[in-house]
Symmetry: C2
Subunit: 145 residues, 2 copies
DNA sequence: TTCGAATTGGTTGTGTTCAATTAATTGTGT
DNA sequence: ACACAATTAATTGAACACAACCAATTCGAA
């Protein structure tokens, strides 16, 4: 049989987090050529996904949805604002609240982004049942974290 | 039925990459308090995992195993070298090749790290069959990327 | 042999990502 | 009304992460 010792738990091939981390990064790399075409980074892209759906959202709620804090979101929104895709507006009711609001130009980008998911699917070979299983397990983990 | 349109593919909840990215980050955050105790970052930790097993490895091969390039690995190895856990040595045969070699002090850290996987398991509630399924799917994806 | 391509690690620049702190504002208890 | 806690975004600092480029070295074909 294979010899094993108490240090086996520290082997890279026995980790669950490492493949999660590696696969995540590699897939994001595959997005790059497609996102370059529409001049968005991956972080800007997932931010736009929320804005395409919500039109307007508080920065705090954006952070909750994306698992990002203001230290990440502030520069991302600066970038999107400088492109003219988003404007920020402070709430009148509560001046602490900052809203990100998508512009017409920002909505227009969705037309150019709509083909990206299909293009990316072509880069990743994964049987549908496995993709579904992966999706379900990851969402269960997200809910528990 | 639910109303849906061609933009549904751009919704955050229909993505496979996003939960991968989010769960990966959240788990790495859970490592932080345990890694702080032994004064390692996550990137240094996975680098040490390879070195604990291999003792000595070319920087190029380290990058292949960890899915990292020299732009990331060079500062990580600088940090580990300044802690005294690693030394670097150029190959005599081919002076382009750089080897990272673990020190006695580096090997000694393994004793303090050996409890971390179990501690982290306690932070993540995932049934064993799902963990196994996730492991298998991710490794299949790593092989295909 | 010699010149050009390929390999390897380092460097630089941009963009995250998070922890910790700060400033402004609002809520709460007395 | 007033002190104090809580909330929200922004800022700062450290560590990634990758693309693009560079210097040194080795390889390989004519």
């Amino acid at each position: 049989m294979s010899n094993n010792d108490k240090y086996d738990v520290l082997k890279l091939e026995n980790q669950l987090c490492f493949p999660l981390y590696a696969v995540s990064k590699e897939i994001i790399k595959k997005y790059k050529p497609f996102l370059d075409e529409i001049n968005l980074t991956y972080t800007q892209y997932i931010t736009m996904m929320v804005l395409w759906a919500e039109k307007e959202i508080m920065v705090k709620d954006l952070g909750t949805k994306l698992f990002l804090d203001s230290g990440t979101l502030t520069p991302v929104l600066n970038g999107l604002e400088s492109k003219g895709y988003v404007v920020r507006r402070r709430s009148e009711k509560d001046k602490r609240d900052m809203y990100a609001v998508i512009t017409e130009e920002g909505m227009a980008v969705r037309e150019k982004a709509v083909d990206i998911p299909a293009k990316l699917g072509g880069c990743i070979s994964l049987e549908p049942e496995k993709a579904m299983m992966l999706y379900q397990i990851l969402h269960e983990m997200m809910d528990n974290l």
